[in-house]
Symmetry: C2
Subunit: 159 residues, 2 copies
């Protein structure tokens, strides 16, 4: 693996010992803690909306896919809608809700992190600003809209 394993700076942060159990990450973790959910969300971000398309992309058992789609709908990440193109029969599709779309931030961040740190693979997709088609990355942004390095961020107990 293409990195050194030297310990790095951010662990000098003192143990702030916050109410660990129920921060948003804990809830998000519970939502994503299985083998397929993140990949289904990835499909949705890619613009795949149909059951069978997801099924054959992922090679996921139909029973499992049905179950996960239900969970994601129940949690407000996806909505199911039936639609009919003129002259066609009715089809179903799963589309991201507004919170679902915002999941692009952590998901793409994870993708970029994995591309960089988990085995050498060139990115399968490029992330661009749709206006100028120039590449984007995910990172920290301060209150002035300026980028901040990971090493410069700090976690503070709030309240």
């Amino acid at each position: 693996m293409p990195y050194d394993d030297q310990p790095a700076a951010a662990s000098d942060v003192e143990n702030i010992n916050p109410p660990l159990d129920e921060c948003g990450m804990a809830k998000a973790a519970r939502l994503l803690e299985d083998r397929w959910t993140m990949l289904i969300i990835r499909e949705a971000l890619y613009g795949v909306t149909r059951f069978d398309a997801m099924q054959s992309d992922l090679h996921i058992p139909r029973t499992v896919l049905a179950d996960r789609l239900k969970r994601l709908c129940a949690n407000g990440i996806l909505t199911k809608r039936d639609y009919r193109e003129p002259g066609q029969r009715t089809r179903s599709q799963y589309v991201l809700t507004s919170p679902g779309v915002e999941l692009a931030v952590p998901m793409i961040a994870l993708m970029q992190w994995g591309d960089k740190n988990l085995g050498q693979n060139q990115p399968a997709v490029e992330i661009v600003d749709r206006h100028d088609e120039k590449p984007c990355r995910v990172g920290f942004i301060n209150f002035n809209g300026e980028p901040v390095n990971v090493g410069d961020i700090q976690l503070k107990k709030s309240g």
Copy 2:
């Protein structure tokens, strides 16, 4: 839940159907696909480094914690080191490697997303720039170092 479930824009992205199986997210997903790993990483980001501290924070079975720490070390996210403060006995600690620290980007993104979208909870921790103590968020940044809205990003098949 505090959001509408109206379908949102990003699903107009056409199905770009990339080599789905092995993007970085797929690998990251496999790394994180269990009930505890993300929470352990959260502990590490909080600055918790000792086995027993993690154990009692998370109420995780010792066997499981031991196993997950091994996996995270094997995957270059954590390193184990023994240290001894003057006059004390030897202790062990797990500290983030450089790739581990970079995981802060997706993990904090997930935390902020969860805080906002999964039940109403005020954030347990604040994320600040350590220089000015002003809050930061995670988001997309273009090649000029300017923020880009989620709705403006686009996934393009690369190569």
